[in-house]
């Protein structure tokens, strides 16, 4: 168990974003995730928890890790999991998003996990349909299970940072904040936990009035932004940002905002390095950092992702369940 918690009834129908999810609720999910973690290390990695439940993964955007993670999470709890991806879906035939989901809803799944390239797509579906929806990423808006798995990962490392909780913990989220749902969900979740969140990146990749929107501190200089922080969370920079005028070149970006060992030395001695993946080595992060198991917790994030998704699926598939 992450920590002793009074039993906490989960009565959310959907998980759409981190907005409005309180600290107790986050801790209770971490609790549940911690209890599922053990399953993933058994010889036979399967429990009957969700036997007879149906989960549909509806992915309108390419994804390897998130889709695999949700799929495995469902399967390890014995749920029936169906994957639908954009390539084989009806979108190409011109079907609307709402029609596709209505069709799936008619088959009465317990949960539909949706990833979509447009911000708000899942909130839109939740407003018009009855299905329980987990947001597996929508546009630039939210990626709540990523935030939860990141919070779990940081939580695991609090003892080596000499801390008991998130209060006063300094977290620098660095890179392409503008296009990042990971940054937004983490900023909300981490702020709820009491951490001090910094957004670090070039002004062209920073959303408007972001300090006010997310209660974060903004740094345009990487060296200043990561000074003394406990967590450095790097974000992927997509190649197309170069051609759209956000940044002039990979070379310049890496020079000023890439995470190198030298730069990491500015952070706290016990600082951990995170990345939601997929990484662009030599663009936002140097291999010497990514592969440094003393500092990089990137693979722990992946393992925790599985546990968090098991916890979230369990909670949504069994309404009123206790942690």
């Amino acid at each position: 168990m992450v920590r002793a918690m009074k039993s906490n009834i989960w009565n959310r129908k959907h998980l759409l974003s981190m907005r409005g999810i309180g600290q107790e609720e986050i801790l209770s999910i971490l609790d549940t995730a911690a209890s599922f973690r053990e399953v993933n290390h058994r010889d036979i990695k399967k429990v009957p928890t969700l036997r007879g439940k149906t989960i549909i993964n509806l992915f309108y955007e390419n994804s390897t890790r998130t889709r695999t993670s949700f799929e495995l999470a469902g399967k390890r709890m014995s749920a029936d999991v169906i994957n639908m991806s954009v390539a084989s879906s009806s979108v190409k035939k011109g079907e609307t998003l709402i029609d596709t989901l209505a069709t799936l809803q008619a088959m009465n799944p317990d949960v539909v996990v949706v990833r979509h390239s447009e911000s708000g797509a899942q909130e839109f579906l939740a407003r018009h349909l009855n299905a329980a929806i987990i947001n597996a990423g929508d546009g630039r808006h939210a990626h709540p299970t990523q935030a939860l798995l990141d919070i779990l990962t940081i939580h695991d490392h609090l003892p080596i940072m000499g801390r008991e909780d998130f209060r006063g913990l300094k977290v620098a989220i660095c890179g392409d904040i503008l296009h990042s749902r990971v940054a937004r969900s983490n900023a909300q979740g981490l702020a709820t936990m009491g951490a001090e969140v910094r957004f670090v990146g070039p002004p062209t990749l920073m959303p408007a009035k972001v300090e006010e929107a997310f209660n974060v501190k903004v740094f345009h200089r990487m060296d200043e932004g990561i000074e003394g922080v406990n967590v450095v969370m790097m974000l992927r920079l997509q190649q197309e940002r170069m051609t759209k005028g956000y940044v002039p070149s990979v070379r310049e970006y890496f020079h000023y905002w890439g995470l190198t060992r030298k730069r990491l030395a500015l952070a706290s001695e016990t600082a951990i390095v995170m990345h939601p993946g997929p990484m662009n080595r030599g663009v936002e992060i140097a291999s010497e950092v990514a592969d440094d198991l003393e500092r990089s917790v990137i693979l722990e994030q992946v393992a925790n992702g599985l546990a968090i998704r098991m916890a979230v699926l369990y909670r949504l598939c069994t309404p009123g369940s206790r942690s």
Binding site: S119, G120, E123, D138, R184
Partner: protein, 429 residues
């Protein structure tokens, strides 16, 4: 009912901003024309309409309406759009040219007018396109289109973005004294944005449109007005910056005017929260700062019109992901009560408020409407200033439901609307 030559609107509070009149009076109508206002003798066989307890004002003039016909009849028609207008007390509408085909040729102008004559129940005044196909390249035939019945020119929905083309348009329009209405949004700053850029867009992860997309275009156009002397009007002005630019131009005596839409002075970007596609339009809902600036502009008299930018859409165009949803909201049926919030909120007097929906836009467009002057057509609205009601998107009189005001409690209810002496709308009928 038998047509009778004389009708008397009796005992109402007559508010006629064009003449500064606000008093209890009767209006005598003969064959659809206003004959007298005051205490006229009642002719024999005169039909009497009791207006006791009601405001009697000139029928409203909305200089910015999308009727969708021809080409987008599934969104709205001239019949459904003018029905919505009548229900809102609006007796004259200027119809924007972004139809299919575009109103960029005298024959399309003729078609719209003919359709309006047959199927419309309020006056329809076509606005012609500034450029052919709204492409922003070649000018349309301003002269011939004016002769065919156009009252102004606009590429509304699109912006005349090319500075050279806008210069020529303003210059050429002078030959006819034509009014050019600009939808002022710099396309390269809009660039995929779907709501105002600010705290809410950052939080929702929606690409934002900065206020400068409007103010930069208005600033540029005002320079061109200085260069050319053309008459220039900013459609649905939404930002403090653009308002300041217009006020500055007016102070210099330049022929620059602007209008404001009810949604822009009564709602902010926060209405988009929850990804409500009924709150999506171009230009987008702005911040509270901009909204307050618009209210100040209304109080100061910088605006010449309140105009709805009434833009009916089919549900399929709105029931999609936010970024994919069509821009536009309906507004005709809520124009009056939302505007009356300016009066109850102390921003302006009833007469000044009605002026922006009657004679001021009418004079801008050069149409013989919007005032209770003997000899003018008897276009009237009778409304209860205080009756409260709740806006319900499922109970609109037009064909579309996309109002951003669903659920809002408002005051001011239209009881009767008359066009040239004929009742075209009656509450409860």
């Amino acid at each position: 009912m038998e047509p009778v030559p004389f009708v008397l609107i009796q005992g109402g509070r007559v508010v006629d901003p064009a003449h500064g009149r606000d008093e209890t009076a009767d209006i005598l109508i003969e064959n659809g024309i206003i004959r007298a206002v005051g205490r006229p003798e009642i002719p024999r066989g005169c039909r009497i309409i009791d207006a006791d307890g009601l405001i009697v004002a000139p029928g409203l003039v909305d200089m910015h309406v999308h009727l969708r016909e021809p080409g987008y009849e599934y969104k709205g028609t001239i019949a459904s759009g003018t029905r919505a207008a009548a229900a809102g007390g609006v007796t004259s509408v200027a119809a924007m040219p972004n139809t299919k085909p575009v109103t960029d040729d005298p024959s399309v102008v003729g078609h719209v007018l003919e359709k309006a004559r047959v199927g419309g129940i309020v006056n329809v005044y076509p606005v012609g396109a500034i450029t052919k196909g709204l492409q922003g390249v070649e000018l349309t035939e301003f002269g011939l289109m004016l002769e065919a019945g156009c009252v102004a020119f606009s590429d509304d929905g699109a912006t005349v973005a090319d500075t050279g083309v806008m210069r020529r348009a303003l210059e050429y329009a002078r030959a006819f004294g034509a009014l050019l209405i600009q939808h002022a949004e710099d396309p390269s700053l809009v660039s995929g944005g779907c709501m105002n850029e600010g705290v809410t867009s950052s939080r929702l992860g929606l690409p934002g449109i900065p206020v400068e997309s409007e103010s930069i275009m208005v600033d540029r156009d005002i320079r061109l007005v200085e260069l050319t002397g053309g008459r220039y009007h900013v459609a649905h002005l939404s930002t403090a910056g653009a308002l300041e630019a217009v006020a500055g131009a007016q102070a210099k005596g330049l022929p620059v005017t602007c209008e404001v839409a009810p949604h822009h002075f009564s709602l902010t970007e926060e209405a988009v929260d929850g990804y409500d596609t009924y709150a999506k339009m171009a230009p987008p809902l702005r911040s509270e700062f901009d909204r307050n600036a618009l209210l100040e502009g209304l109080a100061r008299g910088t605006f010449s019109a309140i105009a709805t930018d009434h833009a009916p859409h089919d549900e399929d165009s709105k029931k999609v992901e936010f970024c994919c949803a069509a821009n536009g909201v309906i507004g005709l049926e809520t124009l009056l009560p939302i505007s009356l919030e300016l009066v109850s909120g102390g921003v302006m007097t009833l007469s000044n408020c009605l002026a922006l929906m009657t004679y001021k836009p009418a004079r801008l467009l050069g149409i013989h409407r919007g005032e209770l002057t003997p000899g003018f057509p008897a276009d009237l609205v009778l409304f209860d200033l205080l009756e409260s009601w709740q806006v319900d998107s499922n109970r609109m009189c037009g064909s579309a439901r996309n109002t951003p005001f669903h659920g809002r409690k408002v005051r001011g209810r239209v009881k009767k609307t008359m066009v040239a002496g004929h009742i075209v709308f009656e509450d409860g009928q």
